[in-house]
């Protein structure tokens, strides 16, 4: 018991001395994870569209070659950035660029560097999630869209990806929560997020374990709130279970606003009016 009392006492002391730094770190972590996950989703969706461009037999040779090249490039991107640790990607992008370009290319803004690295990494995972999402959609949806003359891009953006996005929401949530935790490796390029402050704070005192406990609670709080919000977003995406019938209202007719509904056009007008009132 005593040991917990002491831990609680130390944690309170740490928190009251450094709460501004802890909260600021949580803020940076959340902003980085959120922005990078969103950009990662956009990268993933773009890869999904590129990967599914149909190749027909009557297409010209350069077009077929181009499409194959695009697919190969997407594949290489996914395999490389999914297959190497983010901490090393950070080193290669942040320190490697100036090293290989003789300092002509380097990051002056640590936020831009961190967002770029985490986004590219998330994008590689999202590309595969989006692929899975597209596979989960009934091919009939694509045929329905093609049959009314939609192009590949229109089919993807209007019909397939909105449905795929709904199906991969749990995966996007996964990625976001992983990003909240894994952005801690950005200390390697000097980005100060939640975990970086733990290293800084425990550097000036020896309260290592109480600070780690604060970190634990902090990370768990962020991820729990994130899961709750993600579930809520999924519910919103599902939309309402019921619908309203748009039907002629006898009272509207009796008010003398309209002539007798002898023609289809009249009924149409009536329905539009009804809609506007609701």
């Amino acid at each position: 018991m005593e040991i917990f009392a002491k831990l609680g006492y130390d944690m309170t002391r740490l928190w009251s001395a450094y709460w501004v730094k802890y909260l600021g770190g949580m803020g940076s972590t959340l902003v980085l994870a959120l922005v990078a996950t969103l950009i990662g989703c956009v990268i993933g969706l773009a890869c999904g569209i590129l990967n599914t461009i149909p190749v027909a037999r009557q297409d010209s040779a350069p077009k077929r070659f181009g499409l194959k090249l695009v697919r190969a490039l997407v594949r290489i991107y996914v395999e490389v950035f999914r297959g190497t640790p983010m901490v090393l990607q950070a080193v290669f992008i942040y320190y490697g660029l100036p090293y290989f370009t003789n300092n002509s290319m380097r990051f002056d803004n640590i936020w831009a560097a961190a967002i770029l690295i985490v986004s590219i990494n998330t994008g590689a995972y999202m590309a595969e999630s989006v692929r899975g999402g597209i596979l989960s959609i009934d091919p009939g949806q694509t045929e329905g869209a093609k049959a009314i003359g939609m192009t590949h891009f229109q089919t993807m953006t209007s019909v397939i990806l909105p449905q795929a996005l709904r199906n991969i929401m749990p995966q996007i949530g996964n990625n976001f929560i992983i990003n909240v935790k894994d952005t801690s490796v950005m200390f390697i390029i000097g980005f100060t997020e939640f975990f970086a402050f733990h290293r800084y704070i425990t550097g000036v005192n020896n309260l290592y374990f109480p600070s780690a406990a604060i970190e634990m609670i902090g990370y768990l709080t962020m991820t729990l709130i994130a899961s709750f919000l993600l579930r809520w977003i999924e519910k919103l995406m599902d939309g309402s279970d019921s619908y309203k019938l748009v039907q002629a209202d006898a009272l509207t007719m009796a008010a003398g606003t309209y002539r007798h509904p002898k023609k289809v056009e009249d009924t149409l007008e009536r329905n539009l009016e009804q809609e506007r009132r609701m």
Binding site: A56, R57, Q58, S60, D138, G140, Q141, E143, G144, A145, K146, A147, I148, G149, M150, T151, Q154, S158, V159, P162, Q163, R166, G239, D241, S242, Y243, K244, L245, V246, Q247, V264, T267, L268, N271, L272, E275
Partner: protein, 246 residues
């Protein structure tokens, strides 16, 4: 003589070594209602999908007005926007309401403004009796209702020809009637239609041209009166006899 809209010329289709269609040849003129009948697996649906270029024919051509749409340099999307298709499994966009299903093509493909598209969509939904349901989502509708919305979605594109791929085969028996009556009205209104169906009464009473397919070839074709009263081909006779027994 009405102007030919679609001419299928020597069309063949094989999937690998499996030959599904062999040297199919027929013409559909403006205002024609052509029904394609025949046993399951005879290639009826594949023929329809080839006409709409959802499948690429192995050889032969599909002529739309004077243009060979199977040739190089033809934009299949532009062609499909003029040839509507109604599927056995409806294929309504499940992420959209009934109204959006009927306006998305008009807005994205025909580039109509939202208000025009909306008015147009409601007009066609009125025609199939689904206007009160504009706010519903496909999952909230019955099969017959879905198919009527699918017909309205195709009509909203104002196509020159409508293709129906067994539109009533996935429906409960009591819903077949509502869909067939919509199709009957369309035919009466002069819509050019190619209908793959197992509804023999529809083929006999509504169409003016019947194509009987068996094993990937056209075994017999002609006026419905002649083909149903006095089939020449023994396979046609056998096929129709099975329906008379029921």
């Amino acid at each position: 003589m009405a102007e030919p809209i679609i001419a299928v010329r020597h069309l063949s289709k094989s999937f690998g070594a499996n030959v599904v269609l062999r040297d199919i040849d027929f013409t559909v003129s403006s205002g024609d209602v052509t029904t394609v009948i025949g046993p399951s697996g005879s290639g009826k649906s594949t023929l329809l999908r080839c006409i709409n270029l959802l499948e690429t024919p192995t050889s032969g051509s599909v002529i739309f007005h004077d243009q060979d749409v199977t040739g190089r340099g033809v934009d299949p999307a532009a062609y499909r926007s003029k040839v509507g298709m109604v599927f056995q499994s409806f294929n309504l966009f499940s992420n959209m309401t009934v109204l959006d299903n009927c306006t998305v093509g008009q807005r994205k493909v025909l580039k109509k403004d939202a208000e025009t598209a909306r008015k147009n969509a409601i007009r066609y939904l009125e025609q199939v009796g689904m206007a009160p349901y504009i706010n519903a989502r496909p999952r909230q509708l019955s099969g017959g209702q879905k198919q009527r919305v699918a017909i309205a979605r195709a009509l909203a594109m104002e196509p020159e020809v409508l293709l129906f791929d067994e539109p009533t085969s996935a429906l409960d028996p009591e819903m077949v009637g509502e869909v067939l009556s919509v199709m009957r009205d369309l035919a009466r209104g002069g819509m050019t239609m190619i209908v793959v169906t197992h509804e023999m009464a529809f083929a006999r009473d509504v169409s003016n041209h019947v194509v009987f397919m068996a094993d990937g070839v056209i075994a017999e074709e002609g006026l419905p009166g002649e083909l149903f009263q006095d089939p020449k081909n023994p396979r046609t006779r056998e096929f129709l006899a099975r329906f008379r027994e029921n």
